[in-house]
């Protein structure tokens, strides 16, 4: 049953993400204008022909800026999630598999990081490193890994007790071999699901940091910074906030739908 519900969800999510990815990749060809091109004569035009999403105070085309923003937002959130993935899986697998003091040390670190609200920690890290893309990447990566780490550790812990791990050792496999060939492939499904869902959180967090002025710096635009700059004109030109906001919503919804759909499809209890 859940499997049947999962497929359309996953397809819808994948379509939304494809839309966003297309905007990011094909942005330069689709955009009617250069995103940084000023044209004060066309300041704060509402959406209409020539400017489908309207223009901002400097007369820049909002549609073009949203397309370019997709590039920035996706690149940052995907890279941050990749950092979280590598760190989380490596530490989680080590903690679960080796146990003992390794487990103790890693899990205490996880506890410490998780004791802070995600966004607050990200703001703290980004603020202390100074605004800019590298600090956002680091902040989001550091915020993202503990969840994955806990998940992987739990799965590995359960997996370690399975007979086939002993059987692998009985034919002379070493620890790294067992981790790589027997443990990780068996945790692939939950990792995939968590990573997909994580991308959604990363997009949102990147937008939040940029909104607070800690992300990419002008004139480059990410969706979050566009909302930030548009806020001032909210009553006169709501399109400055609405369209980048919609873009954020579409991207987050896409990754959440895909993640939830994958969860239903990959649920081992439904596998034949």
């Amino acid at each position: 049953m859940a499997r049947a519900a999962g497929l359309p969800m996953a397809v819808a999510g994948a379509l939304l993400l494809t839309l966003v990815a297309l905007a990011a990749v094909a942005g330069p060809w689709l955009a009617p204008a250069h995103p940084d091109e000023l044209s004060l004569a066309e300041s704060l035009r509402p959406p209409g022909p020539g400017h489908p999403f309207g223009t901002d105070y400097f007369g820049r085309d909002v549609f073009s800026r949203v397309l370019y923003g997709a590039r920035v937002s996706l690149a940052i959130s995907l890279s941050a999630q990749l950092i979280a993935l590598v760190v989380g899986v490596a530490l989680g697998a080590a903690a679960g598999y080796f146990g003992g003091w390794v487990d103790g040390a890693v899990m205490r670190l996880v506890d410490v990081v998780m004791a802070f609200p995600d966004l607050l920690l990200a703001i703290g890290i980004a603020a202390s490193l100074g605004p800019g893309v590298p600090s956002v990447l680091l902040a989001l990566g550091l915020v993202g890994w503990p969840g994955l780490c806990r998940l992987v550790r739990g799965e590995v812990l359960a997996l370690k007790e399975r007979d086939f791990i002993d059987a692998a050792r009985a034919i002379g496999a070493g620890d790294l071999w067992i981790l790589r060939r027997h443990v990780l492939p068996n945790v692939a499904a939950p990792i995939l699901i968590a990573t997909t869902l994580g991308v959604g959180s990363r997009i949102l967090q990147e937008a939040s940091l940029s909104f607070l002025g800690l992300g990419v710096q002008p004139p480059a635009a990410s969706w979050g910074s566009m909302v930030h700059h548009g806020l001032r004109w909210l009553s006169r030109a709501p399109w400055l906030v609405i369209f980048p906001g919609l873009a954020i919503a579409v991207a987050v919804l896409g990754s959440n739908l895909l993640g939830d759909g994958l969860r239903d499809i990959l649920d081992p209890r439904l596998r034949d």
């Binding site: 007979d163 059987a167 050792r169």
Partner: protein, 336 residues
């Protein structure tokens, strides 16, 4: 004769738990010659599986730990080897077949890949040249038309086939000793029968030494030529199969044999005799390893121990009661 292939001397292992250190393997010794067959028989919790795992140093640690003894394979002490050297022995010299084939195979790896693992690790064969070796071991394990199963995943196979795949993995590197831990317990009776035939065939045709761990005395006579009975972590009796079945010396062994016969006689014939079992069952249960009796560990369940006699005070040693026949009993062979 020369020195034996596998010689286990005074092997000791314990589980460290909140209730203290439990001596799950307590001074176990035996030998296995090339092509020989030994069965370790005992109830659940008697330490037979812990003994097998200790041989390969696979006892889960924690809570398990090997605390003493020697495991000599061709004269080399496995317990003294560094972990890296041990991986070269596992699979290559000593192979193991597990009780539950459904869980001892990796669910996300095809049968062919899993057998190839062993070959690639030990024989240093390139992955693309592995196929014939994989097919050969599947064939040896009695899998019909091996090619059709190479791409199969464990959940697609029947229990009997899975166990044959396990055996194929074990055989893939041409080991000299095969440790089979209750290899047929999880299988249908008809499948059990064919698998036992296979193990007997492998022993006799490949010259594989077989260490069989079982609680089923019925399979013992078919597969091995020596029996060791374990009770509460110790070997209480060891004898050639023929001698053992003719005249077990330890009261526990006699109880086991009688319980096995009772099973064979079945409930109908019991009913015919007026509802009273003609044969004995062993009363009581295995002693708590955390709280062992001071004397013979079997004394509390033994009809011949007497109340408070020497059986209750002194730990009996293994004594020779016949050629190649040892028993851990002060009064071997008493009773009916």
């Amino acid at each position: 004769m020369g020195s034996p292939l596998l010689e286990v001397l005074d092997l000791r292992a314990e589980f460290r738990t909140s209730r203290g250190r439990l001596p799950v393997v307590d001074g176990v010794s035996f030998t296995l010659d090339t092509g020989g067959g030994l069965a370790i028989v005992g109830e659940s919790g008697s330490g037979k599986t812990a003994t097998a795992l200790s041989l390969m140093r696979l006892l889960p640690d924690p809570p398990g730990r090997i605390t003493g003894g020697r495991v000599l394979l061709r004269g080399r002490d496995l317990l003294a080897l560094p972990e890296e050297a041990l991986t070269a022995v596992r699979g290559r010299e000593l192979a193991m077949v597990f009780q539950e084939p459904a869980t001892a195979l990796n669910p996300v790896m095809s049968v062919g890949e899993q057998i190839a693992e062993a070959v690639v690790q030990h024989r240093g064969v390139a992955r693309r040249r592995v196929r014939p070796l994989v097919l050969e071991s599947l064939d040896q394990a009695g899998v019909p038309e091996p090619e059709t199963y190479l791409g199969s995943y464990p959940h697609q196979l029947s229990g009997g086939l899975r166990q044959r795949v396990m055996i194929a993995i074990a055989l893939a590197c041409g080991p000299s000793v095969l440790i089979a831990d209750e290899p047929t317990t999880a299988l249908d009776v008809t499948v059990q029968d064919r698998l036992l035939d296979l193990l007997a065939y492998l022993r006799h045709h490949l010259g594989l030494a077989l260490l069989l761990i079982t609680h089923d005395l019925g399979v013992v006579a078919r597969l091995v030529d020596r029996v060791a009975v374990m009770y509460a972590g110790q070997i209480v009796e060891t004898a050639p199969v023929a001698v053992f079945f003719r005249g077990p010396a330890h009261p526990y062994s006699r109880g086991l044999l009688q319980a096995a016969r009772l099973e064979a006689v079945g409930p109908e014939s019991r009913a015919r005799r007026g509802g009273r079992p003609r044969l004995e069952v062993i009363g009581g249960s295995v002693p708590d390893l955390a709280d062992l009796p001071p004397g013979c560990r079997f004394a509390p369940r033994c009809r011949w121990a007497g109340g408070g006699g020497p059986c209750w005070r002194e730990v009996p040693g293994l004594r020779e009661v016949g050629p190649g026949h040892l028993a851990r009993c002060r009064r071997p062979g008493v009773g009916p």
